[in-house]
Symmetry: none
Subunit: 194 residues, 4 copies
């Protein structure tokens, strides 16, 4: 038991180190040796937990993506109305992106870069199913615009990634009122105007 825990700890340390280093330096300029050092293990040890560097970064991506979606849907359930559900999910996502920015930045980098291989990207997408289901319901009920899910995501969710990035880069900080405003814009952009 103690041994297993130690293993898990090491794996987590490696994944954490990968995120931090890739965020700050990019995938290039993040050698395995540095990851090992930051995780307090030998370079060789990495290969006990991951097949190679690609596998390490793939698994890190899936791990973070999973954490992300679990957080997003943690307080949501199918019984909620569409608008209530959307608000809950959206605000959880906003919370994740803007406060857990280490993880969010890592996802942004992976999603705009060819460092993650296709299968892992697909694997990561799966987790968003509840949101797509909600939208399907919303469209059926005439509450949400009958447009491509891609468009809905582009306008309702993705702006949060951009805001997280600018928040990280510039002095700009999103406070509570900003977020409420942002939510309104997001909802306005996808809800059907009566």
């Amino acid at each position: 038991m103690a041994k297993l825990q130690k293993s898990i700890d090491k794996r987590n340390a490696l994944i954490k180190a990968t995120i931090e280093l890739v965020n700050n330096n990019g995938f290039h300029a993040t050698p395995m040796s540095k990851i090992a050092k930051m995780a307090n293990v030998s370079p060789a040890t990495i290969y006990l937990y991951f097949e190679n560097k690609q596998d390490l970064v793939n698994q890190t991506y899936i791990e973070v993506k999973t954490e992300y979606s679990e957080y997003a849907f943690a307080t949501y359930n199918n019984d909620m109305s569409v608008d209530e559900g959307f608000e809950i999910i959206w605000k959880r996502i906003a919370d994740f992106k803007l406060n857990d920015s280490e993880n969010a930045m890592f996802l942004a980098q992976c999603d705009n870069t060819p460092i993650i291989d296709e299968p892992s990207l697909q694997e990561g997408i799966k987790h968003l199913q509840p949101l797509l289901d909600l939208w399907k319901r919303g469209k059926e009920e005439g509450i949400i615009k009958p447009i491509s899910d891609y468009l809905l995501y582009a306008y309702a969710i993705n702006p949060l990634s951009f805001l997280m990035m600018t928040q990280k880069r510039s002095a700009f900080k999103l406070d509570e009122t900003h977020i409420e405003a942002a939510y309104q814009v997001a909802w306005d952009s996808i809800k059907v105007n009566k």
Copy 2:
């Protein structure tokens, strides 16, 4: 004249090669030697035009960013009304992002990655001034929501980057009606609802 032209051609070939290779393989996994080969020059020749790899990618970024904004504002002028102006700019940007996707992808990768250094990023941002001016005017006239420019950009412009990316990755293709719909969503999200 002929000599100067040849020089310019070579520099352009190098920049073009950089974009294509970085798009497909990432900054890492894009060796100078491959860039040279694709541009039909010797590796050593790159260093006649650029100080080093970082400089090459910085300058490529600025070049593309400039091209992007020139395209965006080419048909716009200050005499236009706010909504007319916005529509014109937005559609030019959409056109650029969705059709000149090589360039757009490159920008997306640079903007979500630490491969470009800070000064060059700043340099690239400058070019968007006309859009910020338009928004200022729109806010004064009560046409555009009185919210942070960052929010406006996040909702009105940035989704196009996401759509470009998914279009590149999946089979999903944005046709004319999609774009018109997207434009409506964009405009809805930033205009003041009367």
Copy 3:
């Protein structure tokens, strides 16, 4: 234990190879790859023992300089009279320079060239202290000329470097009688004439 020894052996092999190659080809024209090959290791292995090429050559210099002075003073002790002590030291130095010419040549090249950095040169000088002490004593006793240590070194010791060099280059060979003659000249040149 065995592992440590192996490490030391490798380091020594690298230093030996450096000396031989730099002697024959100069610092330029001595690529790391050749040093590695001669030491029977991979080029990358050099960097486990030395920071970079400069560090390798610096450390080699200090190593050889240390060996040189240890040899020079091995049979000397402070109880000896000034003239006895000088003869003993001088002959040890002559022995080193003329017989261990690989090491001596390396030092000559380093001392007449900007390949070693200043700190390492300083480090190397330290070891000659016993000789300077002897001269101080000699001057106090009125046995050795009251002139700058630099002059004493220039006339008493440095000629051996020149002789080593010509011996290496030309057919000229210093035999026992030569050396005795040389010693007499050296001693004549620094002792006080009564």
Copy 4:
């Protein structure tokens, strides 16, 4: 005439640049391009005057060596007595080594390094003939010790190189009295003691 002069000027500029750069950086770390820049010519121009880098440095060596010996023997003639002649030559050499230290350093580096090829070294040695002749005469007259010319050179002349080097490196400066003292040591070391 003007054209020829211009050519000579360029050649001289190249040689001067070579000396300065090799002195400060060593033969390695002295690229042709830097030499060209310092001499205010194009890299390609070097090859109009010299076959290649080796040839450039060889010819520079011979040039400097010639200048050195011409200076050494300029005020000497065969009618002088041995001791007068030696003093005159020695002091000219001292003057050259200690005051024209750029040139002297260059020679020191060449003489302790494998950067000059054998033929050029031989070529450089020739010029010392008058000194060897003087010594021959001195030995015949019983004024100078009947020992190898190499030993004579090692003790009478070579120390000046060492002194030049330390003067360049440390704060130590040889003034008039030092030089007179040095001359006495030199002469003491090779003259026959009566």
